[in-house]
């Protein structure tokens, strides 16, 4: 049996670990609160954009006069041969199964679409590192400098040699999400779609409605089938157990579960009125301008929610770790006391038996 000194050292070490996990939990909770707030402030914009889009759709001139279809490159469906998959994971570990779940969902998607050519783009260091190792990087021919020193203006030519390739060009930093970075990514995706380099774009991310309402979704962003409706192709809800754990962690860290209601009311205030607008530009023009923005808004929304979800996951994981450490300290303390008592008892017996042998 271990001696008292060893046990005392063990306890001290576990206590130190508990302090660290507790601090990490509080930090994640603070970050979660901030991320939640960001997600809320992004909502009116997204809701407004969607409602403008829907009100535009009611106008006849946006439609093709002969077929009656909406006409826009981003609305055209083609046979899905080349797909872009955007995976939004976290930057850091210590977040329970957060990154693993995202990667699992992405891998499942890749397996299901094994017969197609897929480009993988990853936001977040964890996913990026993994997919960069797993799949070969996309190769492009260098833009040839022409004789007069000007760069060739055509888009870089792609040399595809593998069914699944990794394109990691995004500059989005999850720790500090800036709209402009997301916009660059969105514009790139839109450009690739209109140049028919890709036939569809999907995004895998952790949706975050509230602390206890989360799920991992695979969502199609392009082509747009119906504006304003989420095109979820696969979703994985939280289990009861996870939900309970997260709720407990949130309660102990002082994060409210019901931050959303207020925002929903906010969203309603921005709904478009049911009136016939005068269009400063032609509806077609506005429609064409709004669609790429809609894509970007969707991406931004996904990234922001994923950041919130990551911090929620980390908070939960660290809460569990803190609880486990506490339990461990309790059980170690018990053992230590027993060992100490055993030693004392042993000594007393020795003294008593020694004394009785003398008399």
């Amino acid at each position: 049996m271990a001696n008292v000194l060893d046990l005392r050292r063990r306890i001290r070490s576990v206590r130190n670990t508990r302090q660290i996990t507790k601090a990490m939990k509080m930090v994640s909770a603070a970050k979660l609160r901030r991320a939640q707030e960001r997600a809320l402030t992004a909502r009116p914009y997204a809701a407004m954009l969607t409602s403008v889009l829907q009100s535009l759709k009611r106008r006849a001139d946006v439609y093709d006069p002969t077929t009656g279809d909406l006409r826009h490159p981003l609305l055209m469906t083609r046979e899905e041969k080349n797909i872009l998959l955007v995976v939004v994971s976290g930057d850091k570990g210590f977040a329970g199964a957060f990154n693993a779940n995202i990667i699992k969902a992405a891998t499942k998607f890749l397996n299901e679409n094994g017969d197609k050519q897929i480009d993988v783009e990853a936001l977040g260091r964890k996913g990026r590192d993994l997919f960069r190792r797993r799949f070969p990087a996309a190769r492009y021919s260098d833009a040839q400098p022409q004789e007069d020193g000007q760069q060739e203006a055509v888009r870089r030519e792609r040399h595809r040699s593998n069914p699944i390739e990794f394109v990691g060009e995004s500059t989005v930093v999850l720790d500090k999400v800036r709209f402009d970075d997301v916009r660059a990514l969105g514009e790139e995706i839109v450009a690739r779609y209109t140049h028919e380099e890709i036939d569809a774009a999907y995004i895998v991310y952790n949706e975050f409605k509230s602390v206890i309402q989360q799920r991992i979704v695979v969502e199609r962003v392009l082509p747009i089938i119906e504006p304003g409706r989420q095109e979820v192709t696969a979703a994985e809800e939280m289990t009861q157990e996870e939900r309970r754990r997260t709720a407990e962690a949130a309660a102990s860290a002082g994060v409210s579960l019901e931050a959303q209601q207020e925002a929903d009311e906010e969203e309603k205030r921005f709904g478009t009125a049911d009136v016939d607008y005068i269009y400063e530009q032609s509806p077609r023009e506005i429609f064409n301008a709004i669609l790429p923005r809609y894509i970007t808004a969707q991406l931004y929304h996904a990234v922001i929610e994923s950041v919130a979800a990551e911090n929620a996951a980390r908070m939960t994981a660290m809460d569990s770790a803190t609880n486990n450490a506490s339990e461990m300290i309790d059980s170690l303390t018990l053992t230590m006391n027993r060992v100490r008592q055993a030693a004392i008892t042993k000594e007393i017996i020795e003294i008593v038996s020694g004394a009785s042998a003398l008399s």
């Binding site: 960001r38 992004a42 407004m48 403008v52 535009l56 060739e152 709209f179 607008y277 005068i278 709004i290």
Partner: protein
């Protein structure tokens, strides 16, 4: 509301709600030129160009904001401006705007035959120039 001849003006970006106030009139840079909305304007929807949104007769006094890329919805009693970028004049980083301007000119010079690149260059230049103009107008 007691004073019914006020417009409710909102300026919304993906990051924040910049303005939510009442004003007498608001000037908005649409893609095809500035337009001014007063109380009782006919419903209108326009794409936003680059330039300044100016609020007149707001509680906090006249205000200016540099905006780019977005939409404006005018209703008789409210104006909602959606912009991907909206800054108060004092928030504009002139050094950054300068480098954006140079970036735009570089894109323009290297565009060659590509029409898309020219459009992009024009957008970048217009945005940077309007930022600089707003910042210079600060005093």
């Amino acid at each position: 509301m007691a004073d019914t001849n006020k417009l409710r003006v909102r300026l919304v970006t993906p990051d924040r709600i910049l303005v939510d106030t009442d004003a007498d009139a608001v000037e908005v840079p649409s893609k095809s030129g500035y337009l001014e909305a007063l109380f009782g304007a006919a419903p209108l929807l326009a794409e936003l160009g680059t330039g300044e949104v100016r609020l007149h007769g707001a509680q906090e006094g006249d205000q200016r904001f540099n905006v780019a890329r977005g939409f404006v919805e005018v209703l008789p009693d409210r104006v909602t401006i959606l912009a991907e970028s909206a800054l108060k004049p004092e928030e504009i980083d002139t050094a950054r705007a300068q480098s954006e301007l140079q970036e735009g000119q570089k894109v323009w010079n290297e565009a060659g035959e590509d029409a898309e690149q020219y459009v992009r260059a024009n957008e970048i230049i217009a945005e940077a120039e309007s930022k600089l103009a707003s910042a210079a107008h600060k005093s």
